[in-house]
Symmetry: C2
Subunit: 393 residues, 2 copies
């Protein structure tokens, strides 16, 4: 990244920094002519092969070898994933249990409600997550069609223990479909789709995968697909219809052109490059590197006398950190000072504490690329900016 | 386009050829460093200003000066626009009149049905469009909440006379909202949003606007927005909710960051460049240039002894031509021969005549860029490929 100095480093919890090769992939002919980039057909053999290969690679990223599992890549965003789940897996009037640890859990609940689901929501205290005993109690009280958890809530940096959750659900209510919002966790936190028995994991292109924004990405289990196929009522959606997208994804993965709605060759080529880069190294190593970066960030925050929004270490995400500011410092004070030092953090995004904290995303190339010093630079900038605000640790 | 020879020319009816500057815009820092391209925040001031400017420019492209009109740019595609219309403007059980001249009109009807509308569809004979007397009769028989027409059906190249339609609706059923699917017409066919009294025009980034695929683009009238705001039931959608996107679009256009679902800085920068290029010249000149290119294509087709799918000249789109092949030639025969000559056309996409015709898209840079000879090259390639198939005019 020889020219990093030419732009401030984007260290918000998504979109994130890109590897040059990812963005260059958006120009199909870059390998011949680095600057000039061209168009291609969404049903031409070159693109069809790339799209199919991308879908196959996503199976590896989500750690599923069950051929019944089904990846989806659709123009959109993480948000669209909520619609895919709420519109296709739940029929109006059915019960849904939403586990929320912040803004995004609450919004997922709103999405379920919009589609007519009967939503029960368990909300963790600010900086915490719903507890196992509450979840087990709720599952025993009522039959739920689906349970959803936000794996990492980008508003708070709270990590949900997805593996333990799946164990509880399998024991107490095995027929309940388990949905994970992995927007801020796929490609940076361990997700073992088959072994944990997940039914849907949704994510987006611009987080730890490291591709530009614009794509919704998800993995559905064979069981989830069966539920879509056998539901009593037709889903009242069109663009977000799993039934309509299913044959398209299956055809592309079989390297056959297929049409429902035009996919983006540019974004999907970038996604292919990004996912290929992720899979270049063992996933376990990638998760470990994010843990190490996170440990360094959390230690520095503690050394500065500051607190992380996620109060317990076991609830702390590894690819982002929400940091409470000192009482004397506000986000509008410190964010411009960080920018002056070439670092972009995000402000708060939680209704109760929004003005009291900032968010630092440390994921993807900023953690994995050995030529970058993004995390160290950001921590130095944070120290300097706090000092400029008059704060002494 | 000095390096055009490095890749075949994409002359399908979308996605189309890009101007270099459009694709280079997907790298924010291209102006400093042509090859290296970087990330930026979706709520940073640079991107917010660009998104806001893009929305304002879209008002000019759709020819609306009414401040109540509202542009929307959302990650997605043309298809998503059908959902925006069907989910937000029509309540379940309300009547919709769909005018179809091919695959896309039929699919729009399917989308309305998915959301619970009562759909009446008038379908033109293959290569034709619903006629004014049929439309007027239907409008007098029943009260319709909305009427939709596919301005150009990409499957057949049939152009709908939108201006005359609006006159009929205003006279016979003025309260009916008028929806135009402009996926294959915005930025290449005359659309006068205010003067014609349109309520919604939907389109996508990858057609005549000349931006990569991945964005849904639409314009809603103030009257349409009022219908969304005053409907009796809440729309049962989330990602496709106009109410949720409305404040976001208004904030971005006012240069204020706002969040519902992450927009794509890369695609929206490309869109800004593409729309700016479109607006560099008077729209009337642009439409005229597309008419001239179309006339040349249609004349060559006639000189070759072949027929256009749109049978009457007044029903022929100006930015694409669906061409019936000679009986002795099939799409799988001729498309590879065209590709050998560096030209990509599309196959047929109509349930009754799919194997009998090919589609030639002549829009955007291929028509407007004086340095390109795309249309002439394509016509030469067509003549040569037909000869190679043993066809003599």
């Amino acid at each position: 990244m020889s020219s990093q100095a030419a732009h401030p480093t984007l260290l918000i919890p998504g979109p994130i920094e890109f590897d040059d090769a990812v963005l260059q992939s958006m120009g199909h002919y870059r390998q011949l002519l680095p600057v000039l980039v061209y168009s291609e057909s969404h049903v031409g053999p070159g693109f069809v092969a790339t799209f199919g290969d991308t879908l196959s690679k996503l199976r590896k990223l989500f750690q599923t070898t069950d051929p019944a599992s089904q990846p989806f890549v659709i123009n959109g965003s993480g948000t669209l994933g909520w619609d895919l789940v709420a519109a296709n897996l739940v029929e109006p009037g059915e019960n849904v249990l939403v586990l929320s640890s912040g803004y995004f859990g609450d919004a997922f609940a709103d999405c379920f409600s919009a589609y007519g689901a009967k939503v029960t929501k368990i909300t963790g205290a600010v900086g915490s997550r719903p507890q196992p005993d509450e979840i087990e109690k709720a599952l025993k009280e009522k039959k739920y069609k689906v349970i959803s958890a936000t794996h990492v809530d980008t508003s708070t940096g709270v990590l949900f223990d997805l593996k333990s959750l799946t164990a509880i659900v399998k024991r107490v209510s095995p027929e309940t479909l388990i949905i994970a919002d992995g927007v801020c966790s796929v490609a940076c936190e361990e997700i073992d789709f088959d072994a944990w028995g997940l039914d849907v994991v949704i994510t987006a292109s611009q987080k730890a995968i490291g591709c530009p924004t614009g794509l919704h990405i998800s993995m559905f289990s064979g069981r989830a697909i069966e539920v879509v196929k056998t539901r009593k009522t037709e889903p009242a959606v069109y663009f977000a219809s799993i039934k309509r997208w299913l044959p398209i994804m299956q055809n592309y993965e079989a390297k056959k052109p297929s049409y429902f709605s035009t996919p983006s060759p540019q974004l999907i080529r970038a996604l292919n490059t990004a996912v290929s880069q992720v899979l270049d190294r063992p996933l376990s190593e990638r998760f470990q590197r994010h843990i190490e970066a996170s440990d360094k960030v959390k230690k520095t925050v503690a050394d500065l006398g500051l607190k992380v929004v996620a109060s317990k270490p076991e609830d702390q995400a590894h690819a982002m950190t929400a940091i409470y500011l000192p009482d004397s410092v506000s986000p509008p004070d410190i964010l411009p000072k960080l920018l002056n030092k070439g670092i972009i953090f995000a402000g708060g995004l939680h209704k109760d504490i929004g003005s009291k904290y900032i968010r630092f995303g440390h994921m993807g190339p900023s953690v994995m690329d050995p030529k970058r010093r993004d995390v160290d630079n950001a921590l130095d900038a944070l120290k300097g900016a706090l000092a400029e605000c008059g704060y002494k640790a």
